[in-house]
């Protein structure tokens, strides 16, 4: 293409016109009030849209609105959740007051991939949650807004770590076994945008695409489900900028910890007396104070609207020296030009976060540390050279034992993260029936983490060493993502048939770079030498410094897609899509795959017209998506350098190539029924999901491949599930409203084929419980079975005895025999809940509102590892504290994993209770409205689980010991159900909130 001057001039002119377009057209302002038809109460936040444009506004606290419309606008559409939409001709009116009626069939628009669709036309399982239904309180991770609100969506952040290092988001169970695949996040149309870069206060609504037919348009990245986030946009009220301030102050405390012995009990049990009385858990925990402040300004004029927001969060964890401080800014801007034929949306966000990751090991060692040990070395019962340990006491010579107060106070584990995302979308309405859209987006994240262990820290600082003490770790990372998309949409209707065709192209590129550095041997404890690493003596001694750098190849996904949506008779809906997708991650001949999806829905009520039934829709969807492995280079051989001591260099193979690696495929069939009758509504989804050729690292014959590991397509997984959403307006009188809703989900995942018939995995770990694999993975069986001998009693030696399950007269309970035919092993529980439930209640009493959200999970078990290690009174372990629960077996003096440590972890909790009061002010007041609220999270939990937190543990990070680092990058998804010693204690938070509109 020739780029001539004429073109550039025109482009500049266009930009100028865009900027000035606000003033280019004659405008009118229409104002009015929207009320409830029955009660006459104003409706707050009702939507008003100028039909045929994206211009619109929402009502304020008094139900008032004001909207600018262009001269050619003819109709306004009023809508409100739970009410029937209405269209009103504008004519010559400047004031339009309207009463909306509740309880009629909704006609909501839902964001789907590359477009929107009327909710009634959707043939797949999509759940949309609006801001007013989100979980309240000081929520820092947007996914937690949806916790318990969407049937089939699991969001678990075990414990209350404010930095959420092990939160898990999962839709309909595991979708692959090779990696912990989480749902794709799409923010304002930007695929793969980071959830961390969205402040919860900026979110308008979230849609969750649950089944294969819905997600298929997004291809492989959508194979674990899709969460679509729409952020708030500006209003277009002329000349008026609306401000919203949202502030929260809260306090968190540990509401549950691991019960351990105090001094007296410990000594009575035979513990070693070190002369003091210390409550270690109390010593390392605190009341964490949270502060959240958000300020948003929204405004606009004519065809242009904008919203700018700034969010500040300062959250302290319940563990000493843990928490974060975050600043986030977001700008959304949209405008239209050329008779509204060209529209431009621009949005960008920026997040700067400083985290004190702290040391969750502080909690672990607080549980097992001797309760008679002093905090400070000066209080030791014998002479103790405490200067060497920074004044702290340490139990030297004991494996896996560190003074927890010394861990959390001496050391530093912090990080900085900067994230910037921007996206621009340009759409052109070529004809009334045809539009084209182009989108460009980029995201860049930098991470800079540091850890510093001074020379006096026994924990990772090697303080016992006479020569090499202190350690500094550095990690930095840079990830970038680029997205280019273009698609066209054709809309038309033929008689009673509506047709929408969409086709396009998508290019996605990820890049990743990282560096790590670890060195030590610092001069002394006089200062933090991580800022002066040239002082490290490791620089003079070979072999101590660890340095790594890594970079990904250009990791690309390229796709061509097409979709057709047809509506017949306004009651029969058909959607079909196909996507041809290619990836760099697969073998050369298998890079491209074709993934189809199809769905059909029928509004039966239109034909059956059953009495009193408002809605009866049945839909069936089927979709196939591809899935990709997390790592790059799996189809290629990977070697590593071997250095000789004469300067020679050679290499050896460390991973065998698999040039035949191909797409993992997920095929999902979803049947849904939507039912509405009066105040009651229900949605039922049934699905069957088959994953085949999943990609995972497996043992191959080392004799053939030189090494015993490579990645292969191996195995099949089947998930069948049921999701039910129920809603009921219990009370709907003028002053008092009470709506309640329940979401229920259950599923079962079966491993149909695997690389080997069966295996056990998830090692319990040191001290002394290595080689103890607790989870059974077997072909034809459910995922997540906890496997071990069944506890019977204690023998004379204090060792556990086990049940002779097969009655053959001998008890085969050694771990090495776990899979033998004659082994007395049994399924001791399952790590995945049978049933998950969320129960929402919204009660409105005039200006007061109460929001109570209960959540529960049933049928899952947890291995309480703290008990498995520290509950038996082991004579050789008299220097560790003992876990002390009602389940303790007297006389048991040796530790061996069995059913004794597997506990049912069913729970039901009051997850969130919010009481709010709103105040509104007269039209002349500068302040339009105030809402004050009080929120409590985790107010009560009903459970028999004796550990800190009964929430399911869906993934496992293994068993780091003796101060080793926890590797969060490589979770095992086949080993749910283990409550590891690295878990953060659960917390309870009470928050005061203030919302101000002005």
């Amino acid at each position: 293409m020739k780029l001539n001057v004429d073109y550039v001039t025109k482009l500049l002119l266009l930009l100028a016109v865009l900027g000035l377009s606000n003033f280019a057209y004659a405008q009118r302002t229409i104002t009015g009030t929207v009320t409830d038809a029955e009660s006459g109460e104003p409706l707050i936040g009702a939507n008003i849209l100028v039909v045929g444009t994206s211009t619109g506004t929402i009502t304020d606290f008094d139900g008032n609105y004001s909207v600018n419309v262009s001269a050619d606008a003819t109709t306004l559409e009023f809508s409100y959740t739970g009410y029937a939409s209405q269209r009103v001709e504008i004519g010559s009116q400047t004031t339009i007051d309207l009463a909306l009626s509740a309880g009629e069939v909704l006609d909501e628009v839902v964001v789907i991939g590359y477009g929107t669709q009327k909710e009634k036309e959707i043939t797949s399982s999509v759940t949309s949650v609006n801001a007013e239904d989100f979980n309240q309180g000081p929520i820092t991770d947007p996914a937690q807004l949806l916790q318990g609100k969407v049937a089939g969506l699991q969001v678990y952040n075990r414990g209350g770590d404010p930095n959420g290092q092990n939160s898990v988001i999962r839709l309909r169970g595991i979708s692959t076994v090779g990696a912990n695949a989480e749902p794709l996040v799409v923010v304002d149309g930007i695929i793969g945008a980071s959830l961390d870069n969205v402040d919860p206060n900026d979110i308008e609504s979230m849609s969750v695409l649950k089944d294969g037919s819905a997600a298929a348009i997004y291809g492989s990245r959508g194979s674990s489900g899709v969460i679509l986030i729409t952020t708030r946009t500006g209003s277009k009220e002329a000349g008026k900028v609306q401000f919203t301030y949202n502030g929260q102050v809260g306090a968190s405390t540990a509401f549950n910890s691991v019960p351990v012995m105090g001094r007296e009990d410990f000594l009575a049990t035979g513990g070693t007396d070190l002369g003091s009385n210390t409550d270690w858990i109390k010593e390392v925990t605190r009341t964490g104070v949270n502060n959240v402040h958000s300020l948003a300004a929204a405004g606009g004029a004519g065809n242009t609207s904008y919203r700018i927001s700034g969010n500040y969060r300062n959250v302290d964890g319940i563990l000493d020296n843990s928490g974060f401080e975050q600043f986030n800014a977001r700008l959304n801007f949209s405008t239209k030009a050329f008779n509204d034929r060209v529209s431009l949306d621009f949005n960008s966000s920026f997040t700067n976060r400083k985290s004190d990751f702290g040391f969750r090991e502080g909690l672990r060692y607080a549980v097992l540390y001797n309760p008679t040990a002093p905090v400070n070395g000066a209080d030791a019962p014998f002479s103790f050279a405490s200067e060497q340990y920074g004044g702290f006491f340490e139990t030297l010579g004991l494996f896996d034992s560190f003074n927890p107060v010394a861990i959390v106070n001496q050391n530093r584990n912090d990080g900085k993260r900067n994230e910037i995302t921007y996206g621009a979308r340009l759409a052109y309405q070529v004809t009334d029936n045809f539009s084209i859209t182009g989108r460009i987006a980029q995201q860049n994240t930098t991470v800079d983490n540091r850890q510093y262990y001074p020379t006096t820290s026994l924990f990772r600082g090697n303080a016992t060493s006479p020569t090499r003490k202190g350690r500094a770790d550095f990690y930095n990372e840079n990830t970038s993502f680029k997205l280019y998309e273009g698609y066209g949409t054709y809309l038309n209707n033929f008689g009673n048939t509506d047709l929408t065709l969409t086709a396009g192209y998508s290019y996605q590129q990820n890049n990743f770079e990282s560096n790590t550095l670890r060195l030590g041997d610092f001069p002394d404890n006089s200062q933090d030498f991580s800022n002066i690493i040239e002082a490290s003596q490791d620089l003079q001694n070979a072999g101590f410094i660890t340095a790594n750098s890594d970079a990904s190849p250009d990791e690309k996904i390229i796709a061509f897609f097409a979709r057709a949506n047809a509506t017949f008779d306004n009651a029969i809906f058909v959607n079909a899509s196909v996507r041809r997708e290619g990836s760099t991650k697969l073998g050369a001949d298998n890079r491209w795959g074709i993934f189809p999806a199809f769905g059909v829905g029928v509004n039966l009520n239109r034909y059956l017209a059953i009495n009193n039934v408002d809605q009866l829709k049945v839909r069936l969807g089927y979709g196939v998506t591809g899935a990709l492995p997390g790592q790059n280079g799996l189809s290629q051989p990977i070697r590593q350098i071997v250095n000789g001591d004469d300067g020679s260099v050679s290499t050896e193979l460390i991973r065998a190539a698999n040039p035949d690696l191909k797409w993992e495929e997920k095929a999902e069939l979803n049947l849904g029924v939507e039912f509405g009758m009066g105040r009651f509504n229900a949605t039922l989804d049934l699905y069957n999901r088959d994953i085949s050729d999943f990609i995972l690292e497996r043992t191959v014959d080392a004799a053939i491949f030189q090494v015993d590991r490579r990645f292969e397509n191996a195995g099949k997984l089947n998930t069948q599930g049921l999701e039910l959403t129920l809603g009921y307006d219990v009370l709907n009188s003028g002053k008092v409203n009470w709506t309640t809703g329940v979401v229920l989900s259950t599923y079962k995942t079966t491993l149909e084929e695997y690389v080997i018939p069966k295996e056990v995995r998830a090692n319990l770990g040191a001290p002394g419980q290595n080689g103890t694999n607790m989870i059974l993975v077997a072909e034809g069986q459910e995922i997540g079975q906890i496997w071990g001998p069944v506890f019977e009693g204690v023998n004379a030696e204090g060792a556990p005895t086990f049940v002779d399950l097969n009655g053959d007269g001998m008890v085969v309970s050694q771990q090495d025999n776990a899979l033998d035919d004659n082994a007395d092993f049994d399924v001791l529980g399952n790590g995945i809940p049978d049933l998950e439930i969320g129960w929402t209640n919204q009660l409105t009493l005039g200006k007061w509102s109460v929001n109570a959200f209960f959540r529960g999970a049933f049928g899952h078990s947890l291995v309480n590892t703290f008990r498995a290690f520290y509950e038996p009174v082991i004579s050789t372990q008299s220097s560790y504290n003992y876990v002390n629960t009602d389940l303790r077996v007297p006389g048991l003096t040796s530790a061996q994993f069995s059913s004794l440590y597997v506990e049912k972890a069913d729970f039901f909790k009051l997850d969130n209770l919010t009481i709010a009061r709103s105040f509104s002010f007269g039209g002349n007041s500068a302040i339009r409205g105030i809402t004050v609220s009080l929120t409590g999270q985790n107010l009560f939990v009903i459970t028999n689980y004796t550990g800190s937190d009964p929430e399911p543990s869906l993934i496992d990070y293994g068993a780091p010991d003796n101060g080793a680092d926890i590797d969060f990058s490589n979770p095992d998804v086949l080993s749910p159900g283990i409550d590891r010693r690295y878990n953060y204690f659960a917390s309870r938070t009470v928050t005061f909130g203030l919302k101000l509109n002005f």
């Binding site: 050329f338 010579g397 084209i436 090499r468 050896e652 080392a702 002394g768 080689g771 050694q814």
Partner: protein, 532 residues
């Protein structure tokens, strides 16, 4: 307007075309091709070097001197070592007790680790051989080195696949086939058709002596001697004559000397304030010291280095946590491996090997003060290793058991040790010749001459017509302790299935390990050894 839109659409189209559909994966953070840089010959004793650097490094990677692989299954299945369960500590699901009590199963992790470690080593050698870049001398070394790894498989599992080229899948061979393969490869490297009194090694492509880190003629012959010594076990045919010839050839060559009086190295473990620590290590102790490189007794040995040649972790594996302060070790030890009391007591009081091979008694720290163990589980607060081990499980005392220290520790040592590990050394060659002679004649006193060479060095009285088979085995044990020889020796002497301490009698099929279940599951036609 129309013109602009045309341009716009056109440019969109151009953008799509430019983005194109190129999906070539160009890895930038990984190495995908072989890299070879020749070493610099400084005339010193260096590792294999050059093209074979990675191949020789596999001797370390294959579990020769660390936990959970070859070393572990050779040692703690025997009557010289165990890892006792100390309450919950070192119970590890019972797999360590299983090894000692011979109830190991096909799913035992260590059995699998030894298999994969050895095949990974073979794979690397095959890779180098297949690259076509080796000189004929290097090819001979590589084949002999590969034969050694197959010797391990022959000894451990018996029936394995003999793979000589990457990405080929031969059937599982019989134990006799593997034996023949090892023999043939070593003979080929030596350039002879068979081991005989009249053999002439001058045609061998292997070096005539030189660095012990490089497979030379004597290393290959030593391996053949070990192979023939065990031939009756492996293939049912006695080949003691050949074992004797091979051993004699090495001894008679005069290239190697037993490290005895005057053969000393500086004691790198001497604590500055502990008078009883010797300044130098002499004789037997020098053979295994941290600075044992170039020892005249080493014929073929594994180069370990705390920086560039890692894989020996005895200080971690054997010592109590608090023994860190004895040498001010860089990392806290794990308190795992200990010597059986009966084995420890089989040494006479004055045996120099006893002093070198074990750490017992009250322990002093770097500066000579008592090491206090506040977590002690006996009533003595000073760390004090007792030769007696109260029980194998479940509540073995944490200070129980003499700790193996043949490969002695150095001050400020790292978790990775520096001591070279001999695979063929002259001391063992004497034992092989003595035993081969005795077994041929049926008279154990015929072994006395060779055994007495070692007895003299150890400072204990020589045998004089009183050597028996059992005594020979005991003497071999004393000399070869901690050198991964004991399991093989017990099998050859028919004692492996017998009883000792807390080990009950075991079935004869235990004399080979099971083929690891994980390998059978890998789906390439391996069948299990009988009995498992």
């Amino acid at each position: 307007m129309d013109k602009f839109l045309k341009y716009f659409m056109f440019s969109c189209l151009a953008l799509l075309m430019a983005a194109c559909t190129d999906l070539e994966e160009d890895l930038v953070g990984d190495i995908t091709k072989e890299i070879t840089v020749a070493g610099i010959d400084t005339g010193g004793d260096t590792g294999g070097g050059g093209e074979l650097t990675a191949a020789y490094a596999e001797l370390r990677n294959a579990g020769t001197a660390n936990h959970s692989s070859y070393y572990s299954i050779q040692e703690i299945t025997s009557d010289e070592m165990c890892i006792a369960a100390k309450g919950g500590d070192w119970f590890d699901g019972g797999i360590l007790i299983q090894l000692h009590q011979h109830t190991y199963t096909p799913t035992h992790d260590f059995v699998n680790n030894a298999w994969t470690g050895t095949y990974n080593a073979i794979g690397t050698v095959n890779d180098k051989l297949g690259a076509g870049t080796l000189s004929s001398e290097e090819t001979a070394q590589a084949r002999a080195l590969r034969a050694y790894f197959y010797y391990r498989l022959l000894d451990l599992y018996g029936r394995v696949k003999i793979v000589t080229e990457t990405n080929t899948d031969p059937p599982q061979a019989t134990r006799a086939d593997v034996f023949n393969f090892v023999e043939d490869e070593l003979l080929a490297a030596l350039g002879i058709p068979e081991v005989s009194a009249s053999m002439d090694l001058s045609g061998s492509l292997l070096a005539d002596g030189g660095s012990a880190y490089v497979m030379n003629r004597y290393g290959a012959l030593g391996l053949l001697a070990k192979l023939y010594l065990n031939a009756e076990v492996y293939v049912g045919t006695a080949m003691y004559d050949k074992a004797e010839i091979a051993a004699s050839y090495i001894i008679d060559s005069g290239v190697y000397q037993l490290c005895g009086v005057g053969c000393t190295v500086k004691n790198l473990g001497k604590r500055p304030k502990v008078e009883s620590d010797p300044v130098n290590l002499e004789g037997y102790a020098a053979v295994f010291a941290a600075n044992n490189e170039g020892n005249p007794e080493h014929i073929f040995s594994v180069l370990y280095d705390e920086v560039s040649g890692t894989g020996m972790n005895f200080s971690q594996m054997n010592l109590h946590y608090s023994s860190q302060f004895t040498w001010n070790l860089n990392e806290q030890p794990w308190n795992g491996y200990a010597t059986l009391e009966e084995f420890y007591n089989s040494y006479e009081a004055g045996d120099k090997r006893k002093a070198n091979n074990f750490i017992v008694g009250p322990q002093l720290d770097f500066s000579g003060s008592a090491i206090l163990d506040f977590a002690s589980d006996d009533d003595d607060i000073q760390l004090n290793y007792t030769p007696a081990i109260n029980e194998l499980a479940p509540n073995s005392l944490r200070e129980a058991g003499a700790r193996p220290s043949k490969f002695s520790f150095k001050l400020l040592g790292r978790a990775e040790m520096d001591n070279d590990f001999p695979i063929v050394r002259l001391g063992e060659v004497y034992l092989i010749r003595g035993e081969a002679r005795a077994r041929q004649s049926g008279n154990w006193t015929d072994a006395e001459a060779d055994v007495n060479v070692l007895r003299a060095r150890a400072g204990v009285s020589e045998y004089n017509g009183n050597l028996t088979g059992d005594e020979f085995l005991a003497e071999r044990g004393r000399e070869m302790f901690q050198e991964t020889s004991r399991r093989t020796d017990l099998i050859r002497f028919g004692k492996y299935n017998g009883t000792w301490w807390e080990k009950p009698a075991s079935e004869p099929f235990r004399n080979v390990f099971p083929i690891p279940q994980e390998q059978i599951n890998a789906g390439t036609g391996l069948t299990q050894n009988p009995g498992y």
